[in-house]
């Protein structure tokens, strides 16, 4: 009887530890193989189908139904270019030139990774929607305050941005840490 209890305890504790490790390292944990370019982070394993068992599990959790690197490369950030955590109470300016891809977009997500509610439905700016100056540079405003154009709407609280490159140039996959990506500067906070 005592031995049976001990075996039950071994099974229960072992199962809890095993599942706990999966939750901690695979589901909550960061993906292996991350790359940084300024404030932007990406992972070329997203959308891949090879790799070992742990990588496949991580790709399934973090990049479900994502496309491979020749179709789309996804960069994301929850920090500005000076390393400060992105805060919905502040206004930011995203400036740069068109990244090397057939099409690109920058989208804001709330802390829960879903779109930020706003009546104007200004969830993103893109290669087609953004306006450029004589030097081919764009400057989009990320803010709770309403702007007539080149505007991504925020709400209070933490948020993150995703930059999608559709059919990126071969140079992006070859060296994802040195792509000329937009910078992200804090303008003011209220």
């Amino acid at each position: 009887m005592k031995t049976a209890l001990k075996i039950l305890a071994v099974l229960a504790i072992g199962t809890a530890l095993g599942l706990g490790a999966t939750w901690l390292f695979v589901i909550r944990g960061a993906m292996p193989g991350g790359v940084t370019d300024g404030p932007w982070k990406t992972n070329l394993l997203i959308g891949s189908s090879g790799g070992d068992m742990a990588t496949r599990a991580s790709v399934a959790v973090h990049g479900l139904l994502a496309l491979n690197r020749s179709e789309t490369i996804y960069y994301s950030t929850d920090h500005d270019s000076d390393g400060n955590v992105l805060d919905g109470a502040c206004t930011y300016l995203v400036t740069g030139r068109d990244p090397p891809a057939r099409w690109w977009s920058i989208t804001a997500y709330a802390a829960d990774d879903y779109l930020i509610p706003n009546p104007a439905k200004r969830y993103s700016v893109s290669r087609t929607s953004v306006t450029r100056n004589a030097h081919e540079e764009f400057a989009a405003t990320v803010s709770r305050k309403h702007f007539p154009k080149d505007w991504i709407a925020l709400q209070n609280g933490r948020f993150n941005l995703t930059l999608r490159l559709y059919n990126p140039a071969a140079s992006v996959a070859a060296d994802p840490a040195h792509v000329a990506l937009p910078t992200l500067k804090k303008v003011s906070c209220s």
């Binding site: 504790i13 399934a60 479900l64 139904l65 994502a66 496309l67 997500y109 829960d112 969830y123 893109s126």
Partner: protein, 186 residues
Amino acid sequence: MSAREWIGWIAATIVVAVAVHLASVWYLPHAVMHRALSKMGAVNTIHHQKRVDEHARGVVRPSPDLLYSACPFDLSNGPLEVKAPVPPGTYWSVSAFDNNTNNFFALNDRQIGGQPLELIILPPHGGVEPMHIAGRLVIRAPTANGLVLFRTLVNDDRQFAKIDAIRRQATCGTWDKTRDGASNGG
């Protein structure tokens, strides 16, 4: 309990923990895909999702600029036939994922070269041989269950109605060999 007994029980606990961890990591892609497929509705038919906004809370970080059309498939009753016109002037892709989330097929508007998509997906084993289906793109799925996913980019909001109407012409269903044979003969 002696120290030796303690070490034995602790070792047994570690063995169980490692085994459970490895099994759960191995099973995780299958569980993730099963959950995603179960939310998408009936198999072997296409579901044109409406444009993503803040109410879309199925898959994290949806793109507000893409229109998604999904066809969860079950090939146990035979091959799947997928047909779609390709909207001009924008990014479009069709991709297929197996039951373990692996992306086993992808094709975009540039690669297809202006032709409409005519795709047959064969079950992992058996079924007709690829060469017996003329004039079609034929692929074999690694697993009987999976998902075909269309992405159509709305690169210009003024073109939304036009792009949306074209992508809604895509169809997906169990392949009707008899109908196909008749059309080939005629």
